[in-house]
């Protein structure tokens, strides 16, 4: 188990290094001088030169690369070209919002998706199975901004249950109200994914020989489903949920825009619009870190769910 964790950690570090290198070179190799991009087409040669010096682009590539890597490690991610505040401070100030949103969405997704998937699988080809299948397929067909807008129109504009412009701090109820719709939006889409994966994993597991063994020794059906089958079905569910986290993060960007909620998504879109290139660089690093941490957690969850993994 320790070897497994160490190996995954080592792999995570290599990944981080690879992505950092990629980010570094993408910014420099892609057509278009960042300084030119930042200043726009009308900039004078002198202004571009000054910007290049400010960005450190006039120094040798190797020096830039080393400084970039060490800077990232030391937490010196540069200063936003727009606000003038350190990138790390900007990122850290909105990170909790995004984490709160995605965790809430995951919880909603698991709480709805797993029982629903098990229920559909154990009622295969009955009405409830068809309805669940169609509903979950419809759910994951929604682009997050379309579902978000629909929720907003219905609950915000028509029913006026929730604030349209997410008011934030203050009381607990205000916090809940501002979180509820965005979390529901992301959570329902996640639930659609989890339902489908759970259903198909359960269908597969229920055909396994060991399920027949459990039935042959007289284990009640409910225990067969929830203890013998679901524990095995959770293994592929964890894998797939790990893979869908990319979708979840992408959807959170759209959700944050629709519900006008602070977070990484709004930050990166702002940075893109304002060509805040140091900020973008920092955002890529933070997204990579998020992906790596999430992958690590998925692997650990996988190791906990499947006793065979410890062998590796």
């Amino acid at each position: 188990m320790t070897a497994f964790v160490v190996k995954r950690l080592g792999f995570a570090l290599v990944t981080l290094w690879a992505v950092l290198t990629l980010v570094f070179f993408i910014v420099r190799v892609l057509p278009g001088d960042p300084a030119q991009v930042i200043l726009g087409d009308q900039a004078t040669a002198g202004a571009i030169e000054a910007m290049r010096a400010r960005l450190g682009l006039d120094r040798p590539l190797a020096v830039q690369y080393a400084e970039f890597l060490f800077g990232v490690l030391r937490g010196e991610w540069g200063v936003s070209l727009v606000t003038g505040r350190p990138v790390l401070v900007e990122v850290m100030s909105v990170l909790p919002w995004t984490i709160e949103l995605t965790v809430a969405a995951l919880v909603i997704g698991a709480l709805i998706g797993i029982p629903l998937g098990v229920w559909a699988a154990t009622n295969r080809n009955r009405l409830i199975d068809y309805v669940t299948r169609l509903a979950s397929l419809l759910g994951l067909s929604f682009p997050a901004f379309v579902s978000g807008i629909l929720l907003l129109i219905f609950f915000g504009i028509q029913l006026r249950w929730f604030p349209v412009i997410s008011a934030q701090s203050g009381s607990l109820s205000a916090w809940f109200l501002s979180l509820a719709l965005p979390a529901l939006n992301l959570g329902l889409i996640m639930a659609a994914y989890i339902t489908r994966v759970t259903r198909s994993a359960m269908l597969e597991v229920l055909q396994e020989d060991y399920v027949r063994t459990a039935r042959a020794k007289g284990v009640p059906w409910r225990a067969v489903v929830w203890r013998h089958a679901l524990r095995n079905a959770l293994i592929p569910v964890i894998t797939v949920v790990g893979l869908y986290l990319g979708v979840l993060i992408g959807n959170s960007v759209l959700t944050e825009i629709v519900f006008n909620r602070p977070g990484l998504g709004k930050l990166i879109v702002g940075a893109l619009n304002q060509r805040d290139y140091t900020m973008l660089q920092g955002m890529m690093v933070i997204y990579t870190l998020v992906v790596i941490v999430v992958n690590l957690l998925t692997d650990l969850a996988y190791g906990a769910a499947d006793p065979r993994v410890k062998l590796k």
Binding site: L137, S141, P143, I149, I153, G242, G250, V291
Partner: protein
């Protein structure tokens, strides 16, 4: 046991492989009728998109300042937008761009990704580990963010958007192609091919590919849905084709700015995206159940 010769076959003409594949597809469809609905709806959208220049009631770019933000009428069946442009016409023309970008990027990703997956699965070992770990990192990286950055860097042209979306789904196709390649590789007929002295390329593309092609094709209908969704998302964020070109995501973006007083502006293109994506998912889902060997024998 009688040592007679095995029962002689019915004197039927040999069916061509195409006919066999066709029959299998039709059988697959029949087990899952929702696939037919998905296919029908999708084909209808394709026909509408192709016919757009002839059936659209207006020029999608034509502005009519006297009829801005109108509700549905005989003249404008779905109303008009902020610039007084016909929403239905923009929707029909927008379908062309959505489908074009979706199909082109999915096709590119399918070709490149499957090739990577087959090669990794076939050669295995270190090559496989390195390639697939890279693919996994790319896969874990949020596709939308990757697409955003690429389009922002390269500029929002049709080709660049196709490249960005294709890049985000290559890893998925690599994974999709690799798993069945490995399971087919383990089958003894592949070992027999090696024993018969066939080249690697021959085995990969003439023996393995036909066995996994159905699976790849099924998945590409699901990924086409995803590509269309990603294109719309990019446009919604503001990184789609530049206005005034009508795109569904862009229309929602414009509509969203007026969400408080005329929310139907965002509703019509939103429903359009949903219908196409849902139709493709219905199609792919039904086919996948029919192709998936794991769930066979039980219907």
């Amino acid at each position: 046991m009688t040592q007679t010769s095995p029962p002689s076959p019915a004197p039927a003409p040999a069916p061509s492989p195409l006919a066999v594949a066709l029959a299998a597809t039709i059988r697959a469809f029949n087990t899952n009728k929702t696939s037919w609905i998905g296919l029908g709806v999708f084909l209808a959208v394709v026909v509408l998109a192709i016919m757009a220049p002839w059936i659209a009631p207006h020029d999608p770019l034509e502005q009519d300042v006297f009829s801005r933000l109108q509700g549905p009428s005989a003249e404008y069946p779905l109303g008009t937008d902020y610039f007084g442009r016909c929403i239905l016409s923009r929707l029909l023309h927008g379908a062309r761009y959505s489908l074009l970008i979706g199909v082109a990027s999915t096709l590119a990703a399918m070709l490149i990704g499957s090739a990577i997956g087959i090669l990794a699965g076939w050669y295995g070992g270190r090559f496989d580990v390195i390639v697939m770990q890279t693919m996994d990192v790319l896969l874990a990286f949020p596709a939308l963010i990757l697409g955003l950055i690429i389009v922002a860097m390269l500029g929002p042209t049709l080709v660049n958007i196709v490249i960005a979306i294709a890049l985000t789904s290559i890893p998925a196709f690599a994974r999709i192609a690799r798993a069945p390649t490995i399971s087919v590789k383990e089958r003894e007929f592949v070992e027999a091919c090696r024993a018969l002295g066939y080249s690697d390329a021959r085995i990969m593309f003439l023996h393995i590919l036909p066995n996994i092609f159905a699976e790849i094709l099924v998945m590409s209908s699901l990924w086409l849905a995803s590509a269309i969704r990603t294109e719309a998302s990019l446009a919604f964020i503001g990184l789609g084709l530049r206005p005034p070109i009508p795109t569904w995501g862009g229309m929602i973006r414009e509509g969203f700015e007026n969400i408080l007083d005329s929310y139907w502006l965002a509703l019509a293109p939103g429903v359009a995206i949903l219908i196409v994506v849902f139709a493709l998912n219905l199609l792919g889902d039904g086919l996948r159940d029919a192709v998936d060997p794991k769930l066979k024998g039980e219907t």
